[in-house]
């Protein structure tokens, strides 16, 4: 079998900063058949005040609605004309606009993406798109865990902005005005608050030339974000119940503190959650899924700037809820007391590393990885460096994470026809 041809030797990382602070990071691979490009904007739900709840996500939609030189139809038509696979998403901390194209379309794709970073935000488009956002909120209202996710974050983060909802509510979005959005846009889409991340087959010099021509007039102001860790003491006994009589299953979310995006413990945290709560071959899997006690039971680590959480998701028949919560608590207690075995760690490392390598084959995935690493941590990490980082974790490191970030006490929110009790 020939594996020697698939080498990373031609891959090169490049970086450029415009005078207005806009940064461009690229992982150039001349052998790639596609080019991925994305603008990462350092703005999201955590940057919103209560009256602006949902504005980052609404603005993400509005960026596709036209610019001084393009109508909404032009934007959509051009994205399709170049055969792009494109979309955007908003999270607590980022708004990301991305597209994958064949290399010959990369300059056209950049021209379009950079243009929509300066949208017109016309009133009539604002009014129509607001209806789409309200439909999106209604769609998630009908889906498990029926608002449980937002409710759990809100409760856990207390009054810290990381508890803000990305979508906002029907009320908050209905009340948003176009001037409010315009003001938010001017403040948050400052040149130094965005990065362009690219991966794959890249004409680096021409991209810089075009960036300089098209984006150097973007205004730069002082944008700040408070990244202090929140302070809250979760109370495991205080369970929030959201009554949903039409649901067939019960949905439980449990949140505990975890490592932040820049915390040295994050790799150990990731492996701990794989060992304890991956969707396959984890402790939760063997105890709760394989036995059919729960439909799913997973633990994920979620890292933010300055903060982090471990989030457990459980889904089970309503009548199993109490016994399941109890068993989940026993399993976390056992994890704290006895740690993980070497075999568990070895297996988790093999699993995580293999997934990193498989994902790394596609420029589109590398683009997300490069952009996210740069905006969250200010670093570039090769696929190899990522697997090395995972392989370096020891059982002692995992014990340290468990001591520093115990899974209990935790914030608990349950949604469904039953009421959960501690």
């Amino acid at each position: 079998m020939n594996n020697q041809s698939a080498v990373q030797s031609n891959i090169e990382f490049k970086h450029h900063t415009l005078s207005n602070g806009l940064e461009f990071v690229a992982e150039c691979n001349p052998d790639a058949v596609s080019t991925g490009l994305a603008f990462f904007v350092r703005t999201g739900a955590r940057d919103e005040s209560a009256e602006l709840s949902g504005v980052s996500h609404f603005l993400e939609h509005m960026c596709f609605k036209g610019t001084p030189t393009r109508s909404a139809e032009d934007v959509n038509r051009e994205l399709d004309e170049m055969g792009s696979q494109s979309n955007a998403f908003t999270s607590q901390e980022q708004t990301v606009y991305f597209c994958s194209v064949l290399p010959e379309h990369q300059l056209a794709a950049l021209n379009l993406l950079s243009d929509i970073m300066r949208p017109t935000l016309r009133q009539s488009d604002f009014d129509t798109e607001k209806q789409v956002i309200l439909e999106e909120i209604a769609k998630y209202d009908d889906q498990p865990p029926y608002g449980g996710h937002d409710a759990a974050l809100l409760k856990h983060f207390n009054s810290h902005p990381l508890g803000n909802s990305v979508l906002g509510t029907t009320e908050s979005v209905s009340a948003l005005t176009q001037p409010q959005m315009l003001e938010y846009f001017h403040r948050q889409y400052s040149a130094n608050n965005l990065i362009l991340a690219m991966a794959g087959n890249i004409d680096f010099d021409r991209i810089i030339e075009q960036l300089e021509a098209e984006c150097s007039d973007w205004i730069n102001h002082d944008v700040r974000r408070d990244t202090n860790r929140y302070s809250t003491t979760p109370n495991t006994a205080d369970i929030t119940n959201i009554q949903k009589d039409s649901a067939h299953q019960q949905y439980i979310i449990q949140i505990a503190d975890g490592p932040s995006a820049t915390d040295m413990d994050r790799s150990a945290g990731q492996l701990m959650s794989t060992i304890f709560g991956d969707d396959n071959n984890s402790r939760l899997f063997w105890d709760l899924i394989d036995t059919g006690k729960a439909e799913y039971a997973v633990l994920e680590s979620q890292e933010y700037q300055g903060s982090g959480i471990f989030m457990g998701y459980l889904c089970c028949p309503p009548e199993n809820q109490q016994s399941l919560l109890q068993r989940y608590c026993q399993l976390t207690a056992d994890l704290h007391e006895n740690g993980v075995t070497q075999q568990e760690l070895d297996t988790a490392q093999a699993k995580v590393c293999s997934h990193i390598v498989l994902r790394g084959e596609r420029p589109a995935n590398r683009m997300f990885n490069i952009g996210s690493n740069w905006i969250q941590r200010g670093i570039y990490e090769t696929t190899r460096a990522a697997t090395d980082r995972i392989e370096a974790v020891t059982r002692h490191d995992i014990q340290k994470v468990l001591d520093k970030y115990p899974l209990s006490p935790a914030t608990t929110v349950a949604t469904g026809p039953k009421t959960a009790q501690h």
Binding site: L79, S84, Q131, L134, E295
Partner: protein, 426 residues
């Protein structure tokens, strides 16, 4: 990146192996399609294929359940198991050097599963959990009902089964289902990635060449109920589905139909996205897609919208489907071609998508189309050819299924020649 080639190996026992060499990748992926899908469930035992697939993963050869999962994780297999109407489908992607070891495990899993009697109740509970969770997935419920309205049984079935039947299935039933349906006849193994075709075919021959089993038996069908249907549900949104007959993938006109539906739904400049979402803001999700069996096909259309806007959404959807019959414009087709072409090229970045595509091709066509062939077919599509097809095959015979608080007026679904669908208020 050189053009890929696909090798086909037919074994004496009826097994087909497809190999696509992609030497530029580090990974390899394998897909197994075993003709043991839920269409093989006995009429009295819906859910049997699903429970069999669940039990299949509980140990094989000399590996117990946990040892099996452990071995797969140590090889770094990103894996999945699914029960479709035709198949039990297993797939895995991995670093290419680990493929022979992975195939050894799957050879045991398919030919020597333990199907442990002691775990049947656990396996049953897993299936029941999935069935219950599906009840909370409203759009999936809608799509399953659409298929029931369109295709004859058993092709319209979903794999979940019912609470009653799942509770009755015994380990003997599972064992019997396995013996009857796990057979190399009509089983497809597809491999894509950084592999040597000859070498890997020898490995597959060593591991699967001696596998024996029954020939598959023909399926008896009964016609669908037809008509419109409303499912009452307390919800914020109304789920709207429309289905109408079309040609299957194996039909010479398939790509004419696919081209027309692409204009309707592929991309942000497509008609449905523009007319339903962009111009009117009626919904967040709207799409239409070609769905295909071996000998029949249909188009499934979906939109989810709040209750008081549901009627307008249904009316706009129907008017767009009817308007499609008037034909498409050259610029619309050009955009679609660009999109599909770049998608085909980008498939070359993923061993998993190629393994999955070539297996589906073999199942539906009895041959495999390379990306070059697909590219040539695409080049051959013209506005004239699609419009000619549409003129002779106007979207008609719509069946409307809704799920939500109120039923809708479906009189807009009546078109010329639409004789089989019920009409009027649901």
């Amino acid at each position: 990146m050189p053009a890929s080639s696909i090798d086909t190996y037919q074994f004496d026992n009826g097994l087909t192996l497809l190999v696509e060499q992609m030497p530029w990748l580090e990974s390899a992926a394998v897909t197994f399609l075993v003709p043991a899908g839920c269409q093989r469930d006995p009429a009295t035992q819906p859910g049997l294929a699903k429970l069999t697939a669940e039990m299949l993963q509980r140990g094989c050869g000399d590996l117990q359940s946990r040892e099996l999962e452990q071995a797969m994780d140590q090889l770094g297999l990103a894996r999945s198991t699914a029960v479709t109407n035709y198949h039990i489908r297993l797939s895995a992607a991995m670093p290419a050097t680990r493929l022979p070891a992975a195939l050894t495990i799957y050879a045991n899993l398919l030919q020597r599963p333990l199907l442990p009697a002691t775990q049947i109740d656990d396996g049953r509970m897993v299936c029941i959990q999935e069935l219950l969770a599906m009840q909370d997935d409203l759009s999936q419920k809608l799509m399953e009902e659409l298929r029931i309205r369109q295709y004859p049984d058993p092709y319209s079935r979903s794999a979940h089964g019912t609470l009653e039947t799942l509770q009755e299935i015994s380990i003997d039933d599972v064992q019997q289902f396995y013996t009857q349906n796990f057979t190399p006849h009509e089983t497809i193994i597809s491999i894509a990635g950084n592999v040597d075709s000859k070498q890997i075919s020898q490995t597959v021959n060593e591991l699967f060449g001696n596998w024996t089993g029954h020939e598959t038996t023909p399926i008896n069908t009964t016609p669908p109920p037809g008509g419109h249907h409303h499912m009452e549900q307390e919800s914020s949104q109304t789920q709207i589905g429309i289905v109408f007959p079309s040609v299957p993938y194996s039909h010479p006109d398939y790509f004419q139909s696919r081209g027309a539906i692409g204009v309707l739904s592929d991309g942000m400049s497509s008609r449905l996205f523009s007319e339903v979402r962009e111009k009117r803001g009626l919904c967040y999700t709207v799409f239409a897609m070609c769905h295909t069996l071996r000998e029949q096909g249909c188009v499934l259309t979906y939109a989810g919208t709040t209750t008081d806007r549901a009627q307008e959404t249904l009316d706009v959807l129907l008017s767009e489907l009817i308007r499609l019959g008037d034909g498409i414009l050259p610029a619309e087709l050009d955009r679609l071609k660009a999109k599909i072409k770049s998608g085909l090229i980008m498939q070359q970045e993923s061993s998993n998508s190629r393994a999955s595509s070539i297996a589906a091709d073999w199942h539906l066509l009895g041959k495999v189309r390379t990306t070059d062939e697909l590219s040539r077919i695409l080049d051959g599509l013209s506005c004239d050819s699609i419009n000619h097809y549409l003129a002779n095959n106007r979207p008609t015979n719509f069946r409307v299924v809704t799920l939500g608080q109120n039923s809708l007026d479906t009189s807009g679904a009546i078109t010329t020649g639409n004789t089989s669908a019920n009409s009027g208020v649901l």
